[in-house]
């Protein structure tokens, strides 16, 4: 488990948010948004510029706040990042598999893998839960609610 100081996180988040906001702000000056008074009386990008400007200013405020509080000891909640990444990979693989391979092939494995990545100890119960949940959700959504699930291989 590792955690960083709140002040450092504020500076980092502020920098990222300010950079992204500035990039979008600059993008609003591209040709595609050229103001055409015949079509509209207010530029399409006026409001986005105000909002992006606001985000940029607030992000700068966050950076300043981070520097001001540098001496403070408060830290973000400690996080087990490898576990987060493991669960994220399991979730992303399940999402990709849902589309490319099909619901029934992927969901039991995805649920099992996520439970395992989270640290559930009893693999037998986990497998039983994964299979039964897949069937129940299919019955509830696919059969009764007529939601269409991908059921075929799209690979190749």
């Amino acid at each position: 488990m590792s955690s960083i100081r709140t002040s450092s996180a504020d500076i980092l988040y502020g920098l990222v948010i300010a950079t992204v906001a500035m990039a979008f702000f600059v993008h609003t000056f591209s040709d595609q948004y050229e103001f055409n008074p015949l079509i509209e009386s207010v530029s399409t990008v006026l409001f986005p510029r105000i909002i992006l400007g606001g985000i940029f200013v607030c992000a700068l405020g966050l950076i300043v706040k981070g520097y001001r509080n540098k001496s403070e000891e408060s830290r973000l909640q400690a996080v087990n990042y490898p576990k987060v990444i493991l669960v994220l990979v399991a979730a992303a693989a399940t999402a990709a598999g849902l589309w490319f391979i099909g619901y029934f092939y992927v969901m039991p494995i995805g649920v099992f893998a996520t439970g395992w990545a989270l640290g559930y100890p009893n693999r037998l119960i986990l497998a039983a839960t994964a299979i039964s949940a897949t069937i129940i959700v299919w019955a509830a959504l696919g059969y009764f609610a007529a939601v269409t699930f991908p059921t075929e291989f799209r690979l190749g």
């Binding site: 504020d10 399940t94 589309w99 439970g115 989270l118 959700v137 959504l141 939601v147």
Partner: protein
């Protein structure tokens, strides 16, 4: 409105609606009772089930989950000393000590009845306040509406997080996300970078699932400590004698009033209401020293206040189209999927639907009382389910729910991306509610702003000539300068 009551009652008592409310109530109590799930997640996971439903069934399911999940949080608070939802945080103070001394069933009885009374009280407030507010807002032009939306959004940003600055950034990001895609007024596509999917704009469901469900799974993965199955103290359901209730009628009614009033205010929500009510009950009690040691008045104050927020929070959502917290934002997003657009027009154009919502809310409260009483033992046993087994099921529902909306795989990517963003935001205490509410209100905010500019020939200073708008801008300015 009253002429619509009988037809609304007739359609509410159809088998399909009753069954939907029954399922919604049970599901709501379960997601409320299990720590780590909660009201918002329960509503988000229910959205895919509403897709094939007609609007009345969808509303019935969402309302019953909303009402009963708030109550469900008290079961975990009382029996395992962990609030199932943040709204039940204060129920731990007196509920758990009662369970420890062997009065768990009695505590659940107090919580269930107080929740029911709170829910019904707030419904009465909703029935009388929402139409009045809707009528008043009919007088609003675009400038006043813009000022009102801005004020509501800034209030949410102010009170829903620990820091105003982060709340404002979250709200502005939400507004920006709403601007991606085709601009309704001019037909220009914005921020799509030539991507067809982005030119259609982001839809609310993948955002909700990403911000509330996927981010919750990642957060649990990163912060979970192996504490084993919780030890459940007691269970069951027992009603206290009338003389015990009679002593506490004042606490009950005051907490209902506080909860309903706070519920109407944007952003404050049930968590604030329960602490205010609890503090008020303790301050006025003849035995304040017993609070925190198993005094039923503390539990009654907390549970009646959190459920009375449910109706209060729906006042601005139904009458103005302004969701006050994450739960009502999710409900509003789900309702728009069914072409039910909360706001002034709803009261004018679909008074029958508004009446149906009131009737369904009343029935949902009755079901919560009955099922809460009958199923107390079963719900208590469910508390032993570990979060590591529940979260994979949340993932399953999240992915299927995202996909079910329009069978577009890009929605899965959006949900995952916003899941990661939501996780990172939560780590550094950026509140999620302003992002979602900013997204929900973003398009209307821009529309009214641009309409206002057209009306005033581009002179922003004229926005302040309307007294209502001027007062709202002043209040917004005070919040920002806070």
């Amino acid at each position: 409105m009253w002429e619509h009551v009988l037809p609304a009652l007739a359609s509410s008592f159809s088998i399909s609606i009753v069954l939907t409310i029954l399922i919604g109530t049970i599901a709501g109590i379960i997601v409320g009772a299990l720590p780590g799930l909660g009201t918002v997640l329960g509503l988000v996971m229910a959205i895919p089930f509403t897709i094939p439903m007609d609007s009345s069934m969808a509303i019935a399911l969402l309302l019953s989950i909303y009402v009963s999940s708030i109550y469900g949080g008290s079961i975990a608070a009382i029996l395992i000393n962990v609030p199932g939802t943040p709204q039940s945080a204060a129920s731990v103070f007196d509920g758990y000590p009662m369970a420890q001394r062997g009065d768990g069933a009695l505590a659940l009885g107090y919580a269930t009845i107080a929740s029911f009374v709170g829910g019904v009280f707030s419904l009465i407030v909703l029935i009388f306040a929402a139409p009045v507010l809707a009528r008043v807002s009919l007088e609003f032009g675009p400038i006043e509406t813009f000022a009102l939306l801005l004020f509501a959004l800034m209030t949410v940003a102010w009170v829903s997080g620990e820091e105003l600055l982060k709340g404002i950034i979250a709200a502005l990001i939400g507004i920006f996300l709403a601007m991606i895609g085709t601009d309704d007024m001019s037909g220009y596509s914005r921020f799509d970078f030539g991507n067809l999917f982005l030119s259609a704009g982001l839809t609310i469901i993948p955002l909700l699932i990403g911000f509330f469900a996927i981010s919750e799974i990642l957060f649990q993965a990163g912060t979970l400590k192996d504490v084993g199955a919780p030890s459940v103290k007691g269970g069951g359901f027992k009603v206290a004698p009338w003389k015990e209730w009679r002593k506490r009628i004042g606490v009950l009614l005051r907490s209902c009033t506080i909860g309903s009033f706070i519920g109407v205010l944007p952003g404050t929500g049930a968590t604030a209401a329960v602490f205010v009510s609890y503090a008020d009950a303790k301050r006025r009690a003849p035995n304040p020293e017993d609070f925190g040691k198993g005094e039923p008045s503390g539990l009654i104050a907390s549970e009646s206040a959190n459920n009375s927020v449910s109706g209060g929070a729906m006042v601005p959502m139904l009458s103005l189209g302004i969701p006050g917290d994450g739960s009502t934002a999710v409900m509003m997003g789900a309702l728009t999927l069914h072409a039910v657009i909360p706001g002034v027009r709803l009261f004018k154009d679909q008074p029958d639907l508004v009446t149906l919502i009131f009737v369904l809310l009343a029935i949902a409260n009755v079901f919560m009382l009955v099922i809460g009483a009958l199923g107390a033992n079963a719900f208590s046993r469910m508390l032993k389910l570990p979060i590591t087994l529940l979260m994979p099921l949340v993932l399953l529902m999240s992915l299927v729910g995202t996909f079910a909306i329009r069978a577009n795989p890009i929605d899965l990517i959006v949900a995952l991306v916003f899941g990661v963003i939501g996780f990172l935001a939560r780590l550094n205490r950026f509140p999620p509610a302003p992002i979602i509410i900013g997204f929900v209100l973003g398009k209307q905010l821009e529309f009214t702003f641009r309409q206002g500019l057209v009306f005033t020939d581009g002179n922003v200073l004229e926005f302040f000539e309307s007294p209502i708008a001027a007062v709202l801008f002043l209040l917004t300015g005070l919040i920002i300068l806070n």
